[in-house]
């Protein structure tokens, strides 16, 4: 029987929500939360002997501590997640399995393909989960199947739902490299621009803009993905998977009073932002710069959306619209606060 340790966050451990996001890591005996179902799926061959949980705000920086707890029970395999599209949780899961893998402990994480943590898993395996926690049951089934295969000494492939950077394996093909290269060149000439043996990362490379020569002569804009809206969110900005962005006036304002603004971001505790909105949008400091002449002028409004599970396509659209809008207003540079 193989010994498994399961890594989860404070929420799935049943410890608490954002109020506990700074807690942990903590080692528990046996399975907890989704681990109970996972334990059933891998039994009777294998056993979840312990669970380690850690709060989302601190886990990504406490990986050594987490892996120390994991190794203290001498497991045969570490499993993390499913983290779905949760960014902080996914990052922690990826770093935990990467660290465990690097010290020779078999490991596998589960998260959605769009999780920003995916690429941090290094050489450790990641299998696809659903997008949201409603997809827990099928996500756990796929994860359990992956665990069984790993513990049988096999390697996970795309057929097992493996995602992320593919491990390079040595295989024998029918055609040598020269023949395959010519075939790909012919495919390219034939109009198939996607044909490749080595898929490139999905993120495109942005050519940086030229710097501003002298900030004291330019109009600066404040923009944010921290979900900061006016009180009561009259325009209905989404707390997750935003499909829109909003603009609010800053003219005649030198500060953002608590109570007049609130963050609707659903990806972290907004208590600090609501206590002092400058923690999301640094209007007070920007007004100082303006008064001192360090910038020419501050744009008379700010743009805001919620960066929480927002699709890349929407985020790209917001950026394009923001840039166009700023150009029209005469703003030449921006400070973008991100949570």
């Amino acid at each position: 029987m193989a010994r498994i340790v399961h890594y989860i966050n404070q929420f799935f451990a049943g410890v608490g929500g954002e109020d506990q996001a700074g807690a942990g890591p903590v080692l528990l005996e046996g399975p907890a939360g989704p681990g109970r179902r996972l334990a059933e799926l891998v039994a009777p061959e294998h056993e979840i002997v312990a669970t380690v949980w850690c709060g989302d705000d601190v886990a990504a920086d406490k990986v050594d501590e987490i892996v120390g707890l994991v190794r203290s029970v001498d497991p045969d395999l570490v499993v993390a997640g499913p983290a779905f599209t949760s960014g902080r949780y996914g990052l922690a899961c990826a770093r935990v399995v990467a660290a465990a893998h690097s010290v020779g402990v078999a490991s596998v994480a589960s998260m959605h393909e769009d999780n920003p943590g995916l690429d941090e898993a290094g050489a450790a395996a990641v299998v696809a989960s659903g997008e949201v926690a409603r997809r827990m049951a099928p996500s756990l089934e796929r994860l359990a199947a992956g665990i069984q295969r790993l513990l049988a000494g096999e390697t996970l492939t795309a057929e097992d739902g493996r995602i992320g950077a593919a491990a390079r394996l040595t295989v024998v093909t029918d055609d040598n490299a020269a023949t395959r290269a010519v075939d790909l060149a012919l495919a390219r000439l034939g109009g198939d621009s996607a044909a490749t043996e080595i898929p490139l990362p999905r993120f495109d490379r942005v050519t940086p803009a030229a710097p501003v020569a002298d900030a004291s002569t330019v109009m600066l804009a404040l923009v944010s993905e921290g979900g900061l809206v006016v009180a009561d969110n009259p325009d209905g900005l989404e707390s997750a998977r935003a499909t829109k962005w909003l603009r609010y006036p800053l003219e005649d304002r030198d500060a953002l009073a608590a109570g007049d603004y609130m963050s609707v971001h659903g990806g972290f505790s907004t208590a600090w932002a609501n206590e002092d909105p400058h923690r999301i949008l640094p209007l007070d400091a920007a007004r100082e710069l303006e008064a001192e002449g360090a910038i020419g002028e501050l744009l008379g409004e700010y743009f805001v959306t919620t960066g929480n599970g927002t699709s890349v396509a929407n985020a790209r659209r917001f950026g394009v619209e923001w840039a166009a809008d700023l150009r029209r207003s005469g703003a030449r540079a921006a400070i973008l606060t991100a949570t």
């Binding site: 920003p116 020569a213 972290f268 360090a294 606060t337 949570t339």
Partner: protein, 87 residues
């Protein structure tokens, strides 16, 4: 925004992700829920930290970069102030 010619200082805590997705000008902050704050400080010290962040952002906006570049708030000024205590 950078692609469209607007230099943009990205103030964020998850710097590794910002680098990976290719944000050209990154300023490191102290926590996910408060990019331009630090609730562990008293009010005045937090204001100073926020000012250091926007000063650093201005520096980033005036710096030519070729690839994702991380700017650290406070450090140059702290060094220059020779032993100044920056909470």
């Amino acid at each position: 925004m950078e692609r469209a010619g607007i230099p943009t200082a990205l103030l964020c805590n998850l710097v590794s992700i910002a680098e990976r997705v290719g944000a050209p000008r990154i300023v490191r902050t102290r926590g996910i829920p408060y990019p331009t704050g630090d609730p562990s400080l008293d009010v005045d010290a937090e204001k100073r930290w926020r000012r250091e962040l926007v000063d650093c952002a201005l520096e980033a906006l005036q710096t030519e970069v070729q690839e994702p570049t991380v700017f650290e708030a406070g450090q140059a000024r702290v060094a220059a102030a020779a032993g100044a205590d920056h909470a």
